[in-house]
């Protein structure tokens, strides 16, 4: 098991490095460098080229590409992500203030969609071919076909503006302290974010459950005379669970992508919101850093998924 984990990590490291390199290339390709961000344009126009050049040299900008990349990379590993071009705030600070909001939203959506999606998927698989199954299939299809932000708009109109049950957006008010105070703010965005995920998990859980139920050991369990619910849940679902766990790991990109848009719809002050405003104001260092972090999150998640699958299903390890 340990060798398996080590091997996985060893594959991951060069990939992470290549991605860092590509992101840095992107950063280099974008217009402007540190000097043009540090000095306001009027002053820059009146400075003479020799001064600018001296400043560039002192910042290390005149050095060859690989040296600059290396210094950027070693800073990155130590947690110095550089500075935002809007106001020069350290990017690490921006991330630190924005990340909790995103994690809060994403974890609620992930838990909710997993539980509901698995339940509906199993129900659908057990009543295969019935009217309920057909209805669930169509509902699942609707869930992946309707744009998330459209769901968000309808939810705001109905539940926030017309019924007034929940606030329109934002994460909290100044007087709110505990999570309980903020809960009403969390309900609409997390539910809307869950819809697409739930539909995906449901479809997957259904096919995985159907697959498990057609195996021989289910027949064995049934012929032993076990009650039907035990056969379905203890024998069928346990096996069906493995692919579902994998799927949940691979949902992370969907979750990140979804939260980028949903945070914008509900003005949720998370990373996604920051990312969009950075793209709009062409704050490239922030854009690149957030992109890089999201890739790293996906890579780590896929590593965890692989390890979990290997733990649950010994065939994976032996197959390697």
């Amino acid at each position: 098991m340990l060798t398996y984990i080590i091997r996985r990590v060893l594959i991951l490291i060069p990939m992470a490095f290549v991605i860092c390199f590509l992101v840095y290339c992107g950063l280099e390709l974008t217009p402007g460098d540190a000097v043009s961000h540090m000095i306001n344009p009027d002053a820059l126009g009146s400075m003479d080229p020799a001064q600018i050049e001296a400043l560039r040299q002192s910042l290390g900008l005149g050095q060859p590409f690989y040296v600059r990349f290396w210094s950027w990379f070693s800073n990155l590993i130590q947690g110095n992500f550089g500075f935002s071009t809007n106001g020069g705030v350290p990017i690490a600070n921006i991330i630190a203030t924005r990340l909790p909001a995103t994690l809060e939203l994403a974890s609620v959506a992930l838990i909710f969609s997993t539980v509901i999606g698995c339940l509906l998927g199993i129900l659908s698989a057990l009543s295969r071919g019935s009217k309920a199954d057909g209805a669930l299939t169509v509902v699942g299809m609707l869930g992946v076909s309707i744009p998330e932000f459209f769901f968000g708009l309808v939810a705001i109109l109905v539940f926030a503006l017309n019924l007034g049950w929940f606030p329109v957006g934002g994460r909290s008010m100044p007087s709110y302290v505990t999570l309980w105070d903020r809960l009403p703010h969390l309900v609409l965005p997390s539910m809307v974010l869950s819809i697409m995920l739930t539909a995906g998990v449901m479809r997957y859980a259904r096919s995985s459950m159907l697959d498990a139920l057609s195996r021989d050991f289910i027949k064995t369990a049934r012929s032993k005379g076990l009650p039907e619910w035990r056969v379905n849940l203890l024998h069928g679902f346990r096996v069906a669970l493995t692919p579902v766990v994998v799927l949940i790991g691979f949902r992370l990109p969907v979750l990140i992508g979804g939260s980028v848009i949903i945070e914008q719809v509900f003005q949720w002050p998370g990373i996604g919101n920051e990312f969009i405003s950075a793209v709009r104001s062409q704050d490239y260092p922030v854009v690149m850093t957030i992109a890089l972090l999201s890739v790293m999150a996906v890579l780590v998640a896929s590593l965890i998924v692989d390890v979990l699958t290997a733990l649950i299903d010994p065939r994976v390890r032996l197959g390697e």
Partner: protein, 313 residues
Amino acid sequence: MTESAIAKPRRRTRLDAQFDRIRAREEAGLAKSRGGSRTLNKFLNNRLAVIGLIIFSVILLASLFAPLLTPYDPNKIGLRDMLQSPSWEHWFGTDRTGRDLFSRVLYGGRVSILVGLGSAIFAAIIGVLIGVYTGYVGGWLDTLAMRVSEIFMSFPQIILVLMLVSILGQSLVNLILIFTLTGWGGIYRMCRARMLSLREEEYVLALRSFGLSRPLIAYKHMLPNALGPIMVNITLSTAAFILQEAGLSFLGLGVPLSIPTWGNILNVAQDIRVLQTNWWIWLPVGTVISLFVLSVNFIGDGLRDATDPTQQG
């Protein structure tokens, strides 16, 4: 065991009813093969897929023949008719600058469908070209292609798209380019996996022993065996790209606002006043997008069921 089966008749299921119907038709001498392609018949028997095909055709044709269906120019500003609610004159009402929304939805459909379908087809071409050849040949070329696709696919798609938008700038061509660049990975992997299993088939061995060149074997003889899944993949990624375009344009980061697209029409709904009082600006467009994507997804699922015998139920 048999006693209990006799004592308690089995509950009739939908399948029993279906078999009865088939038997009745057989006895009446009606059960003849309809002829034609088996795949086509199977597709047409799938109710959801047919519904999807109908909705798809209606929206597509309405967009293509937009000039015949509406007399209004989608970009013509009419300050006298600002924010009118739906009427006989303006079926979907008008927006904040008095542009007719029905014609904007129709003309917007052209661009949105173009972006979705165009990107899906380009992505498929790249994915198939790379996947079929490297999957068949294997070796270092295959490893390289796999690593590159892994790098592309480890980015959450919308993050990569927005990153490229911020580097390349906003335009229609750029958007299709970016979608193609970010979307080829899925179909590449599918093709490669298919080729890996086809590679072991005997007919491939036979072709190789005839001395056919590798591209010829891969593209001419093996590729047709993967066409079913490729079509399914193109359909489903069209749906995904249309959703993404709508999302990006809604944020104001997709197609430039001067070109009407479904997402660009929805863009104004970020304003809470528009959302609350001028429902006709965003609700019909949102419904059209949802219906269109839904229909494309139904078609994709129908195609999958019709072409892939292992995906039953």
